[in-house]
Amino acid sequence: MTDSSIKALQRKRMLQNILSPVIAILGGLMLGALIMLAVGTSPLYAYRQMFAKSFLDPYYLAQTLVRSAPIMLSGVGAAVAWRAGYINLGMQGQMCVGGLCATLVALFFPVKTPLTTILCFAVGMAAGALWALIPTFLDYKFNASLIITTLMLNYATNYITDYFVAYPIKDTAGDGLAFQSPQIDAAMRFFRFSKKNAMNIGVFVAIAAVVLIYFILKKTRFGYESKITGLNRKFASYGGIKSAKMMFTTMGLSGAICGFAACIEIFGARYRYVNAMFTTTGYAWTGLMAMLIAKYNPLLTLVYSIFLAGLSIGGQALQRAVGLPMQISDIIQCCITLFVSVKIVLDFTVFSKGGKA
């Protein structure tokens, strides 16, 4: 292979990497437009409304960014495990446990200062990691399929955490109809820039965390080893990478990031643990979709998370405005993921001109 043909190949691959998500997003939006036409809504009007009420208006932009924070973190959390070949489907459960434990510490730890927040985060992350390590241990030791056990724990965990806000730590203030914990102390909340919207420093903390994980995955030995393990487990162990250690580290890290995501949501946006707060919002699954579109790349996951968060915020606005069910944004999101995963063969003339090398 000549030098120029290698360069052409690289250029082709880069072009493909940029083009394929763009095509997939356009395809997803087109499919969404067809569905809108079928139910009698003008797609042009709907999309204009959707993007105006997710990115262009400052209030909605703030909402989009706040929503994107847990999405990007759980997405990156999933990516850490998936790219090493360990399928973690239990992000939702890990978020529930992490969030609940952090809330418990926040409510019952006697000293309530901003420093306690750090303690809460540490507990939340540890709880999330532990919740990911249990199925990991069962898979490693007893071959209990990680896919099934992590997913089963989502459902189980959600019931258990909801029990807490329904009985032991239920907020008795107010009418007492809502199943939620009391609010955490004002000193421990994340700083908000304005009283008008929910924009808080949690978003920037999340972005910083994603960037940090990007560097860990791209620039450190651990990142390289986990990638190789994902590409070929046998080759990795032949090369001296301990697969057990890799399995526990990546899954633990994955769970910890999910716990972190839950903490960002609680300390930045909600200030309490609310019944089913991580199931009805679908953060974990949206994050998973974003990470699949980004092909495990943390920085791209960040970008797509903001996009997908905007899509659902816009979808909610659309439901209020014209009554189109907001699930339209979930449908579009799933279609984009499916489309982007298809390897589009782009046969550009670059190759044929130079002749087949």
Binding site: L138, S145, Y155, Y159, M289, T337, K343
Partner: protein, 305 residues
């Protein structure tokens, strides 16, 4: 404890295990030709939805059944095209299709009925019931009281799948694809076609499971009503080591856990009982793994690294 109470628990175990059995059969059918179908959940949910919508407007069991199978196979077709024809990774296809069906059903529910949550209606018909009566044995009669025909059909289907996979040439071809895709291909077996079709078959089987769930005991559709049953079925199939007859027993076990959780609701807080079947799945998978390890050790087979 009252013996009729035990009979009632067995009765509900039989009912709850049916959807799992059908989906487990769908799962193992794919596993046998080396296809990992993660979208069982989506196939079941789509079938349930289609069945109830058809039922709502036509009040016909036959049309609802056809709609369910049609919807299940349509989702399966989508899975097959992406997974087999386009070569997308199974986990990616499975999780996105599951989510897609989940959001598509609640989207359509709002468009058609204008509500969220559940679809119920006057005059919706349930599956035909068949009460097996043996003389005046009240225990046995209570055990088989008003089971739907699908509850019986599940076991017949399991036997049929067994006969097809292990006693016919086509079944042999299917299993040969599972053992070695390339070797089977070299002997003239249309490997890719077989894999494609196996997903469609699993779509139809899961559709029957979805049908049993929405028109068996009660005739209703609840948003995301499968609630992980597809994945429980996957566990049942893997515990049965992809053997259809063994799948009957593993499905009965999971049916029993669900039945227990409903029974225990009288005594224990429902938040805990609801989570019971899911914890049981995790524990059962673990115990099964331990048994397999012990058995392999006895046979002198080392656990492969």
């Amino acid at each position: 404890m009252n013996s009729l109470f035990v009979a009632a628990v067995i009765n509900s175990t039989l009912r709850y295990s049916t959807p799992i059995l059908f989906a487990a059969l769908g799962s193992l059918y794919c596993t046998r030709c080396n296809v990992f179908n993660v979208a069982l959940e989506g196939q079941m949910l789509a079938a349930s939805f289609a069945a109830i919508v058809t039922n709502y407007f036509t009040h016909s069991v036959i049309l609802s059944t056809m709609a369910a199978i049609g919807a299940g196979m349509l989702v399966a077709l989508l899975v097959a095209v992406f997974q087999i024809s386009l070569g997308v990774r199974d986990m990616v296809v499975g999780t996105s299709i599951n989510l897609l069906v989940q959001s598509a059903t609640s989207f359509l529910m709002q468009v058609i009925f204008g509500t969220r949550g559940t679809i119920q209606g006057n005059g919706m018909v349930a599956l035909p019931k068949l009460s097996l009566k043996i003389g005046s044995l009240s225990f046995v009669n209570r055990m088989f009281e008003s089971l739907s025909i699908l509850d019986y059909l599940g076991y017949i289907t399991a036997i049929l799948v067994f006969l097809y996979l292990f006693k016919t040439v086509r079944g042999f071809h299917l299993r040969s694809v599972g053992i070695s895709f390339e070797a089977a291909k070299s002997l003239g077996v249309k490997s890719q076609r077989i894999q494609f079709n196996s997903i469609l078959v699993s779509g139809a089987l899961c559709a029957l499971g979805g049908l049993a769930q929405c028109m068996g005991m009660v005739t209703v559709f609840v948003e995301n009503m499968t609630a992980g049953r597809g994945f429980i079925a996957m566990g049942a199939a893997s515990m049965a080591q992809a053997h259809p007859i063994a799948a009957i027993f593993s499905s009965l076990f999971f049916g029993a856990t669900i039945s227990m959780s409903k029974t225990l609701q009288t005594y224990i807080n429902s938040y805990f009982t609801e989570s019971f079947p899911y914890f049981c799945t995790v524990i059962a998978m673990t115990i099964f793994g331990i048994i397999m390890i012990i058995r392999n050790k006895r046979k002198g087979i080392q656990k492969s690294a």
